[in-house]
């Protein structure tokens, strides 16, 4: 099985180092995107909470 795989790699001229690099990009890249997005999401949620508390305070003050 391993011999077949090696033959396939040679026949298709696959550069295994490049493939491994791409897989490294995959996990680092998705992690990076998720990190940025999660941080932004949390900040947006905090801002929404501040806004709703302010709105509730203004309504309470108005009464």
């Amino acid at each position: 099985m391993l011999n077949l795989l090696s033959l396939a790699v040679m026949a298709l001229e696959i550069n295994t180092e490049t493939v491994m690099t791409s897989l490294g990009f995959m996990w680092k890249g998705m992690l990076g995107i998720m990190t940025v997005i999660i941080i932004i999401t949390v900040i947006v949620m905090i801002m929404a909470r501040i806004d709703s508390k302010k709105a509730a305070k203004n309504e309470g003050g108005g009464k």
Binding site: L12, E13, I14, N15, T18, V19, T21, S22, L23, F25, M26, K28, G29, M30, G32, I33, M34, T35, V36, I37, I38, I39, I40, T41, I43, V44, M45, M47, A48, D51, S52, K54, A55
Partner: protein
């Protein structure tokens, strides 16, 4: 030098792009100039690209000049277009429903899957990354990344990116149906929007730029210009600039970008086996984007009390607003009371941010 068979192929391709733009309404603002430009640059001794003339020396062609100045020097055209795009985007549905942010991120999986497929098909890592960016479903980002990485496949990448964006309504339903059950597609999601204050709308583009810039410095130009456009829109004090960005600037740059990209569609560079491989890679990128978003939604459903309709994940692809409309249409087709549009729009605009962040992160790997 007479007309070569490769040039004839480019005339056919140029004609095909014009036909698709006009008859099928496939991104006409880009595909028509690209198609016409493909014909212009492939006429023998074409005056639109630099030529050596006996007794005169080198003459400068306008399309080559536009490319040198507008794309090669500083990636100015895609970045200026981003100002217009940012000014057009309303992040309200996303800000009032912040969980949708996550689907924009998940639906960028196709970029990385396409990069791996590209390496398996023999591309070097820079060309693979440039080709993978078709999965960003964002023409300016794909063009910018391929230019920064000096990929010789920019023409093919641009054609693939814009063509597949137009084909989202054809590609996505097939993939979504293959990986979801009818029961999942019937999940209803009530929409309870929160009020978004003007302060939040103004702070949002600034915060996104700072966070993205700190995590992925190479994304500052992409994210920064997108968010600059959005800030002009949301600040409320620059109505005229916002309108100009959304209309005159966006239209002018789109017009120039389309015809300028055709410089990379010169026959001897475009008519190769690699172009066909890139078309296949592009299709796979969109398929894996859809799979990434949908599977992420299914994963979240394992832990979530309020179930998410997995189709929403497919809307995280950056093709706005086609992907959101696809999800809305499929939701209504399964249950005519199931309106998913506002959730889908939230995920869709999140994809706009996530795709440019992805571009910046990938460029950062080469710094």
């Amino acid at each position: 030098m007479g007309i070569t068979w490769q040039m004839v192929v480019m005339y056919v391709i140029g004609g095909l792009l014009i036909y698709l733009a006009l008859s099928k309404d496939f991104e006409p603002a880009l595909l028509l100039p690209m198609g016409f430009g493909a014909i212009l640059v492939n006429l023998p001794f074409s005056g639109v690209i630099n030529q050596m003339m006996t007794g005169v020396g080198e003459t400068h062609g306008i399309i080559q000049w536009l490319f040198d100045v507008g794309i090669e020097a500083s990636e100015a055209f895609p970045l200026l277009l981003f100002i217009g795009i940012g000014a057009m985007i309303d992040f309200g549905p996303l800000l009032s429903n912040p969980k949708m942010f996550l689907f924009g991120a998940a639906a960028q999986f196709g970029i990385f899957a396409a990069i791996t497929v590209s390496t398996l098909l023999g591309f070097d890592i820079k060309d693979a990354v440039a080709a993978g960016m078709i999965g960003a479903a964002d023409g300016p980002t794909a063009i910018l990344v391929s230019q920064v990485l000096e990929s010789k496949y920019m023409g093919a990448i641009a054609v693939a990116a814009y063509s597949y964006m137009a084909l989202v309504p054809t590609i996505q339903p097939v993939v979504i149906k293959a990986i979801t059950t009818k029961k999942e597609r019937l999940i209803r999601m009530p929409y309870n929007p929160k009020n978004i204050s003007k302060r939040t709308r103004i702070l949002f583009p600034i915060i996104v730029t700072v966070i993205a810039g700190l995590v992925a410095p190479a994304s500052v130009s992409l994210v920064g210009f997108l968010m600059f456009g959005n800030l002009i829109r949301e600040c409320g004090a620059l109505e005229n600039l916002s309108k100009t960005a959304q209309n005159e600037l966006a239209n002018l740059v789109t017009l120039l970008l389309g015809i300028t990209i055709s410089f990379s569609m010169v026959a001897d560079k475009f008519v190769t086996l690699d172009t066909i491989k890139i078309m296949i890679i592009g299709l796979l990128a969109f398929v894996f984007d859809t799979i990434g978003g949908v599977m992420f939604a299914k994963f979240l459903n394992l832990f979530s009390k309020n179930k998410i309709n997995p189709m929403i994940g497919a809307a995280g692809i950056s093709a706005f607003p086609m992907a959101a409309r696809v999800v809305q249409k499929m939701g209504i087709a399964e249950d005519n009371q199931n309106h998913l549009l506002m959730h889908a729009i939230g995920a869709n605009v999140s994809g706009q941010i996530a795709s440019v962040v992805a571009g910046g992160i990938l460029l950062g790997f080469f710094i």
